[in-house]
Every structure is written in C-alpha cells, then in structure tokens.
C-alpha cells in the first residue's frame, strides 16, 4: 500500500491567530486535524495539546501492540484494536484539556474539535468529536466519514428540522461535543476497507462553511498531487472571505501493488514474481 499525503493550515483573512493544528505521521498512516476554541491563546493550546497527545499515544500503543485493557479507557467491543487505540487516545486528550482548563485561569473555557484518520492496509479508521470533518472521495462520489456534533446536526438527525432549515440555521456553530468541555467524551468512529484510489480529506469548518461538498469533490479530483490540491482548497475558502482558520489534509491511497489473496491470487503473485 502506497500513501501520498499533504496538509496545510492557513490563518484565513479575518482572524488574528491560527487556532487550528494538524499532524501527519506517514510511518503508521496517522493523520490528525484539530480546531481549537477559547480566548487569547487558549484555543491554540487546546488544539496543539490534543494533536500531540493523540499522536504520541497511538504511536506508543501500536509500537507495543498493547492489549485493549491496558489503555486509558475501557475497550469498546465494536471496534478493532487500533480503533480502541484511537478512541482511548481521544478520551485521554479530552481529560488533559479538561484538567488544564479547570486548573489554570488563562485556560478557562478552552476546547477543541478533533478528527483522526488511520490508514492501514486492511482497514481505514475515522474518528471525530465536534464539527471538523472527514470525507471519503471514491470514484466520483464524496461521502462523510465523520458525524457533526452540533445542535443543528443533532436536531436534523432526530427529525425535528428539515435539511433546508439546517443549511441556513444560524445555530450551526453551537457544538454539543468537543474536547475539554466535560471530563468524559465519546468520539464517533467508523472503520472501512480501503479501495485502490481512495482519497480522504480531513478539514476544519473554515473550509466547509464556505465550500460545498460538491465543490470540494471537484477540487480533490482535479489532479494527483495532494499538496497542490490542499493549496487549491485553502485558496478557494480565502477567495470566498476566509472567515475562519482553514486547515486541510489530503491522503491518497494506492493499493494496486498489494498482494492478491486466496489460492488463485497466490498463483498470480507467483507468476508475477517469475516475470
């Protein structure tokens, strides 16, 4: 499996500082984006702390192949082992940010969203808390691999408001979950099987508030260099006002050279080697 990835964070045109943070770790296929909130520098602190804690712990647990019951929180039986690493690292980051915000006056009220994507040969795991997003771009379709934790999305899911009402609601920016607000948090996790040519996008609302899903799809399909496409996504958001910090990370997967499975697959691999 071959991965090409790039990430870009931009302050936008209206904000003084950048409260977003991101990390990429190609060695284990781990990608993280966070959008911090809170006065002065607190938002920046929250997003950076979250990204670092999650990256370090997942790395550590993978290296040690830690059993599920040695993690920060009780294991979730519906998840794979790596899924539990991700879920647990998010809970740990939440606790640290929560304790910091309670312990220091300058950090009061700070918090952050988080999206985490792990790309492995047999599965891709997507996890999120808050309103940052993960998209899967497969063939000519774009679909979410994250759930939005805000008031409007929850009311939409409960069937209390319509999709049209949700799109224009002024309440889209009211989160119902983030890291740092309470001592426990649950992330939404999804696991899928990767296909050849899958593309994944991690991004903050600085992009999605201004650029629609269809427009994102068009840009992501418009070339093969993730770095160049990240620049295109950011400049599109800035062209439309750049109201908020914009962070994007693109991950392109190529599984064409992976070993084929089964008896016939083994034969095929054998003959390929002979050539």
């Amino acid at each position: 499996m071959e991965i090409k990835a790039a990430g870009l964070s931009d302050v936008g045109l209206k904000r003084d500082g950048n409260e977003d943070a991101f990390a990429m770790d190609d060695s284990i296929g781990l990608y993280i984006v966070a959008d911090g909130m809170g006065g002065h520098l607190a938002g920046e602190v929250a997003s950076n702390v979250a990204v670092q804690i999650i990256q370090k712990n997942i790395n550590y647990w993978i290296a040690k192949n830690s059993p599920e019951d040695e993690l920060f929180d009780f294991p979730d039986g519906t998840l794979s082992r790596t899924g539990n690493y991700i879920s647990s690292s998010i809970k740990l980051a939440n606790r640290v940010i929560y304790e910091m915000s309670k312990g220091y006056r300058e950090y009061k009220g700070m918090g952050t969203t988080i999206v985490v994507l792990a790309v492995m040969p047999n599965s891709v795991i997507a996890a999120n808390v808050g309103d940052s997003r993960i998209y899967l771009i497969r063939d000519d379709t774009i679909e979410p691999l994250s759930k939005e934790h805000n008031l409007v999305a929850e009311q939409l899911e409960m069937g209390l408001i319509s999709k049209e009402e949700a799109e224009i609601s002024p309440l889209r920016h009211i989160l119902t979950r983030n890291l740092g607000f309470s001592d426990i948090v649950d992330a939404d996790l999804f696991e899928i099987e990767p296909m050849n040519d899958d593309r994944f996008l991690l991004c903050t609302d600085g992009l999605t508030d201004l650029v629609s899903d269809d427009e994102i799809l068009k840009i992501v399909k418009n070339g093969d260099d993730p770095e160049h496409l990240c620049h295109q996504l950011v400049s599109e958001a800035n062209k439309r006002g750049g109201n908020d910090n914009i962070t994007v990370s693109l991950i392109f997967v190529n599984t064409q050279d992976d070993k084929r499975q089964g008896i016939i697959g083994k034969f095929a691999n054998f003959f390929n080697k002979k050539k």
Binding site: P144, M158, L160, H173, N178, M195, G265
Partner: protein, 235 residues
C-alpha cells in the same frame, strides 16, 4: 443581566431575571417559568445561556413555540424578541452591556452548549416520531445453517480468514472476500476485489454499495439477506 417578562392579555404578570445557566418554561412546578395554562406543555421550552448568547429550544411541545410569530425549534434570542407560548407572551430583554457585547462578537464564533439534559428531554419526546437507532443483520438464505448474524462491529469481514466475523469456507474463498462497514450514511458492502464475486440483488458490485433493507447479497456460493432491526441501546 437578561430578563424574561411574562405577559398575558397585554398585562405583565411577572419578570424573571436570568440568574442561572438555563431556564425551563412549562406548566409543571419544576419549571423556572411556570405558566399554568392547558395550552402549555408540562415541559414546553428552555432558554440556555451559551457565552454571551441566549438560545431558546422548543422541547417538542404540543402547541409549539413561536418567536416573532415564526414557529421555531431552536432560535438565538435577540434583544426585544417576542416569544409566544400558548396565549402567553414572553418578552426577552438584554441589558445595554449585553447588547453591545453580542454586537461585537462575530456571528460565526464557535460555542459549546451543554445539551445533555436538553437531549434527554428531546429524545424522550422524539421517540414517538423518530425511529430508533437501527442495527444491521445478515441472515443466511442458503449455503450454510448459521442463521442470523448481527452486524455489531463497525467493520465486518466476510471470508475464509479465522478473524472474519462471518466465516465462509470453500476452496476458492479468499481470506477476505467482502466487508460491510457501518458509515454515517448507513451500511455499505465492499468487495475485496478478488476472484470471488460479490453480488447485491443479482448484480455484481465492483467497489462499494450502500445496503437497503431486504437486499440479497451473494458471496461466491453463499447467499444472504440484509435488513435492519431496532437496537436496544441508544448512544
């Protein structure tokens, strides 16, 4: 400090200063603002303070909540907003300082709202109208006698491998022939791309396919049916 002024028939009944993080409105004594009238639900609506903003949410009341003559589910209250519940009028007023603050604050600033209580209430009422969370089930039609398998995992692997959630045998069955993943938009089946064909409703799928209730799935010589049932636990 913001205030809510309760009026009926053009006469002010009572004034409520906003001293807590949230105020409940309804017919029950438990509410902060009690309106004893049959047109008002026992738990009718709630106003929450988030940062410098006030948000009113209708708690699935029978007769609805109106702000400035428009029915609302949730609404960010502005100074001088008129809330109508039953035949009662609630007038929302902010202090001068609060009005200035709200103006200064960018409209798109992200906030967090403690919705746990509100969600409980909404969920209780939403139960009647909204379907509960569904869980997918695969049942064997032929090829095996395994019966029903609940898709409890986020990713279910189908194939010959020991670690598969749905284990199939056969000489040409690959370790993983197909996977079913639970995604934000529903369950999707993905062919692993081997020689073993994966069919949904008699059509070979190349990559991913979102499953609908009572779709038939074929993996090699095995045949299944997919459907969803109500799950007991709700997240």
């Amino acid at each position: 400090m913001a205030r809510v002024i309760l009026a009926f028939n053009k006469k002010v009944i009572k004034e409520y200063p906003f001293v807590k993080e949230s105020m409940a409105i309804g017919r029950d004594d438990r509410n902060d603002i009690v309106i004893d009238n049959l047109a008002v639900s026992s738990l009718h609506a709630r106003i929450d303070k988030t940062g410098d903003n006030y948000i009113i949410t209708d708690l699935q009341s029978t007769n609805g909540t109106f702000v400035n003559n428009k029915q609302i589910t949730s609404h960010k209250l502005q100074h001088k907003d008129k809330i109508i519940i039953g035949k009662h009028l609630l007038f929302f007023a902010m202090s001068k300082e609060e009005q200035a603050k709200v103006k200064k604050e960018a409209l798109d600033k992200t906030m967090i709202l403690d919705t746990s209580k509100q969600k409980e209430l909404l969920a209780k009422r939403a139960d009647k109208v909204v379907e509960k969370e569904k869980i997918g089930v695969i049942s064997f039609i032929d090829g095996s006698s395994e019966g029903e398998i609940k898709l409890g995992k986020k990713l279910t692997k189908i194939g010959k491998a020991e670690t598969s959630e749905i284990k199939l045998s056969g000489l040409f069955m690959p370790p993983t022939a197909a996977t079913i993943s639970r995604r934000p938009n529903g369950y999707a089946i993905t062919s692993a791309g081997g020689r073993t064909k994966v069919k949904v409703n008699d059509e070979v799928i190349k990559e991913s396919h979102f499953l609908k209730d009572f779709d038939t799935i074929e993996v090699g010589s095995y045949k299944f049916q997919f459907y969803t049932i109500d799950s007991g636990d709700k997240k």
